[in-house]
């Protein structure tokens, strides 16, 4: 055990918990108007779009085809209304094949 590593872990824990816990503490005291309510309902969609793009292209920094093909396979399976798990495993399988063949 290194004391400075433990201190770092403690500090990281505190600064990570803070933004997660604040809304749990104050949510009772907050009331949202219809427009804010709509804004909060849209945030999950925009957050997810931002988490996907452009990150997926650099899943392998040296090969853009890995990100592209994996995302396309996941997208195609999701379009066909496959369960989420199937989409995830399908994308992994496609990338595995791509790595093994090329």
């Amino acid at each position: 055990m290194h004391p400075e590593i433990l201190l770092m872990i403690l500090g990281m824990t505190l600064v990570t918990i803070l933004p997660r816990v604040l809304p749990a503490v104050f949510i009772e005291k907050m009331s949202f108007g219809p427009r804010t309510e709509k804004f909060l309902r849209l945030v999950p969609y925009t957050a997810m779009a931002a988490m996907i793009f452009p990150g997926f292209l650099t899943v392998d920094a040296s090969r853009m085809d890995i990100g592209l093909v994996g995302a396309l396979v996941a997208g195609a399976l999701a379009w066909k209304k496959c369960p989420v798990m199937v989409c995830v495993l399908g994308a992994i399988g496609a990338d595995l094949l791509l790595y093994l063949v090329f």
């Binding site: 500090g11 990281m12 809304p23 909060l40 957050a47 994996g70 790595y99």
Partner: protein, 242 residues
């Protein structure tokens, strides 16, 4: 919000909804553990960090910064900035839990991460219950901590090609839960596209963590002007009706 399921049924359903996340977590958790070991962290410290911080990208960043010789203060500050996005995500999750016991709410807020937020907020309104979220984050938490343990134990055993191919899993997860909603709502799809473009542009100007927050908030605000969540709203009204 009324739900016909018992708390136990909701919890178990939440656990099940976490299964796809587990697949996505393993490669990230293992990659983190390998890097942390390389940075000189002991096996216990490596797993401990996963158990207390529970934030993949910042843990990988921390290990990388140690390797580059960065100081503790810089690492903690960078972690704070990187994880500020959880303030927004937690607000979106917690607004479903006002009226629930404060203790359970605090406990559940610890489990707000990108993936639990994404899975939970894409559930139909009537499924967004506290116990379902607790089930979901139990799966997420166990997966994340075991991934670090597997990473520590399996260094050099798991084939690198397999780990590399699993890197797409998190993105596949997000795509798979986002796409069905976009398919039903063209304006929402347009908003997602706009967000993707904004985030790509902002990423060139700002650090990625700030770009993500800016694109998410700006585009959600823009969306209030032109996106119609009417169908969703009607469902919510019927679910909330006495």
């Amino acid at each position: 919000m009324t739900s016909t399921q018992t708390k136990k049924q909701q919890y178990l359903a939440g656990l099940r909804s976490g299964l796809p996340v587990i697949t996505g977590f393993f490669p990230v958790g293992i990659a983190y553990a390998l890097l942390a070991r390389q940075a000189g962290m002991s096996p216990v410290e490596t797993v401990l960090m996963s158990a207390t911080v529970l934030a993949g990208s910042s843990q990988i960043m921390a290990a990388g910064m140690i390797l580059q010789g960065a100081g503790i203060t810089a690492i903690i500050l960078a972690t704070f900035v990187l994880n500020l996005r959880h303030l927004i995500m937690s607000t979106c999750v917690m607004r479903h839990f006002s009226g629930e016991p404060a203790g359970l709410r605090l406990l559940s807020s610890f489990g707000v991460v990108d993936e639990s937020f994404a899975v939970f907020c894409m559930e139909p309104e009537e499924n967004r219950t506290l116990f379902r979220f607790l089930g979901l984050i139990s799966a997420v938490y166990l997966a994340w901590v075991s991934a670090a343990a597997v990473g520590v134990l399996s260094a050099g055993i798991l084939p690198q090609t397999l780990l590399d191919s699993m890197g797409i899993a998190i993105y596949a997860l997000f795509i798979a839960i986002l796409l069905p909603s976009l398919r039903q709502n063209r304006r929402l799809a347009l908003l997602a596209l706009l967000t993707a473009i904004c985030n790509s542009l902002f990423s060139r100007l700002l650090p990625a963590s700030w770009a993500l927050i800016a694109a998410t908030l700006l585009c959600a605000a823009l969306g209030t002007a032109f996106v119609d969540l009417q169908t969703d709203g009607q469902k919510e009204e019927s679910a909330d009706a006495p």
